[in-house]
């Protein structure tokens, strides 16, 4: 059993196995299940993610409030024009991350990674990179175990709840998890995975949870978009050999402490930040017929 990233990396390196394998072995032991059973459950989750991405990039999905939907599709159309400045993989990941969150906002079926509000980053990056490296189904499942291993550490040592730690705990965690998993998929070392997670999460620190009207829509969908691009960038940096000056576990601890000192108005209460802007309040009043803070 690993309690932090240092132990996770140490376990993987001493046994000469990937991070994903450490997670698979631990899950088998915890559940008392066979490798096949554990893998099969993850395959089911992978299927759900794939369906949500496909739906989001092909359908003009709209949420009940009308606040979000259709942006994943817009970006796919733009990509086809060949005019995009950012690389195709990056923008495809952004589009696929938004696709998942648009389906989520429309009360569609998704797989939380680690939460529903941050469910776009991990599958978004995976299904974009898939276009470039053509991974096997097993490698894709491993990607989810690797990201799960890092998320496991964050959940137990900090938080993965916006209400407890702000958006940095949700999209921030998801971004770090994806960055670490990308590194493993691309053949990097466990230590490089930890660096990628640290670099990604460092750039999400302090991010507040301020959803307009309390809905998991604005700015959640676009924060997943940025999380996906941040994850790929951080992974590339780590794969290039760039290290994080602050060790991953300390970044996670900093995230936890920042979350604790964050005011409640910025922790999923729809009372501060973007939720409290004039436009945010106007949208809220339009959706519910009344503003939340006036009740």
């Amino acid at each position: 059993m690993f309690r932090n990233v240092a132990e996770l990396v140490e376990l993987a390196e001493s046994k000469n196995i990937p991070i994903s394998e450490v997670m698979i072995l631990q899950e088998m032991e915890f559940r008392g299940k066979t490798r096949e059973e554990v893998i099969k459950t993850m395959e089911t989750n992978l299927d759900v993610m794939e369906k949500a991405v496909e739906r989001g990039i092909n359908e003009d999905v709209r949420s009940h409030s009308g606040l979000t939907g259709g942006d994943a599709l817009l970006l796919q159309e733009y990509l086809k024009t060949g005019k995009a400045l950012a690389g195709d993989i990056l923008l495809d990941a952004v589009s696929k991350a938004m696709a998942t969150n648009e389906v989520n906002a429309a009360m569609g079926t998704i797989c939380a990674t680690p939460t529903a509000g941050s469910a776009g980053v991990v599958p978004g990056t995976l299904f974009a990179i898939k276009e470039k490296v053509n991974p096997t189904r097993e490698q894709m499942v491993r990607y989810l175990f690797a990201s799960g291993a890092f998320g496991f550490v964050v959940a137990n040592n900090a938080s993965i709840s916006g209400a407890a730690g702000g958006c940095q705990a949700e999209v921030g965690s998801a971004t770090g998890m994806a960055a670490a998993a990308i590194v493993e998929l691309m053949g990097g070392t466990p230590e490089q995975s930890a660096d990628a997670m640290a670099i990604a999460l460092k750039n999400m620190l302090g991010l507040v949870c301020d959803p307009v009207a309390g809905l998991v829509e604005v700015p959640c969908v676009k924060r997943n978009a940025m999380g996906a691009s941040n994850a790929i960038t951080a992974a590339d940096m780590a794969l290039a050999g760039i290290k994080s000056r602050i060790p991953c576990d300390e970044v996670i601890d900093a995230m936890y402490k920042i979350g604790q000192s964050m005011p409640n108005t910025l922790k999923e209460t729809a009372q501060g930040g973007l939720a409290a802007t004039p436009t945010g309040r106007a949208l809220e009043a339009k959706i519910f017929g009344v503003s939340l803070d006036k009740k």
């Binding site: 915890f30 989750n45 797989c111 939380a112 990674t113 509000g117 496991f152 009207a213 729809a270």
Partner: protein, 220 residues
């Protein structure tokens, strides 16, 4: 460690939009339903903290009632839970509370029918995971991850031994156990998390013991 499985992180598969405010809420409602053991005729739900502020946007109300209707987090009927409850004639009432609780995502579910009622307090701790922290006024710690047995009993010597003997006889291993009472010699509650599923006949056996008042279980 609060999170013990990778599927707490990569999962659950669920109906959107929020793992804590939708999936976690559905799970709290479902535990209340399973403990009550049958469909209630009325449900009164009090919401606290972030739940109270944002429940409409997250569908927390819909999800809690979906759980009370025994729907799982990925059951698409959750979306129409309020309508389904109405069609079944279940009276549903929501209250937004101002009180500050230990956890920002807290819900109190009080449900019942003409014969009995049950009240529990659940917290949604993130990523779809929840804990039941109070049942009928008793404080308890139940992860919802393992099958669990809840035994309401008289606070008398031998009551605990009787229950654990029956579990031992059926080769059921106890992973975590907690005993709470309000006052010495009065009503008490055993919370027993086990590694195996507890079948109906074992429940009956436990129920037939002296000083045992009520037995309920939550399956994995």
């Amino acid at each position: 460690m609060k999170y013990r499985s990778v599927f707490d992180i990569i999962g659950p598969v669920m109906i959107g939009p929020s793992s804590s405010h939708t999936a976690g809420a559905a799970r709290i409602g479902r535990v209340a339903r399973q403990l009550f053991g049958r469909e209630p005729k009325w449900v009164e739900i009090s919401l606290y903290g972030s739940f109270a502020k944002t429940y409409k946007g997250h569908g927390t109300d819909v999800a809690l009632v979906g759980g009370v209707l025994d729907f799982d987090t990925f059951d698409e009927r959750i979306v129409n839970a309020l309508t389904i409850a109405k069609e079944k004639g279940i009276r549903v009432k929501f209250t937004e509370e101002d009180a500050v609780m230990d956890h920002p995502n807290t819900a109190k579910v009080h449900l019942g029918d003409d014969e009995d009622d049950l009240e529990l307090v659940g917290i949604s701790i993130g990523g779809g995971k929840m804990e039941i922290v109070e049942l009928n006024g008793f404080k308890l710690g139940l992860s919802g991850n393992s099958p669990a047995l809840l035994v309401v009993h008289n606070d008398r010597f031998g009551a605990i031994a009787g229950v654990s003997n029956i579990l031992a006889k059926h080769e059921i291993n106890i992973g975590h156990m907690n005993v709470a009472r309000k006052e010495r010699g009065q009503q008490a509650l055993m919370t027993i998390e086990v590694d195996q599923n507890v079948e109906e006949k074992i429940m009956k056996e436990v129920e037939s013991l002296p000083n045992i008042l009520q037995v309920a279980k939550i399956n994995d």
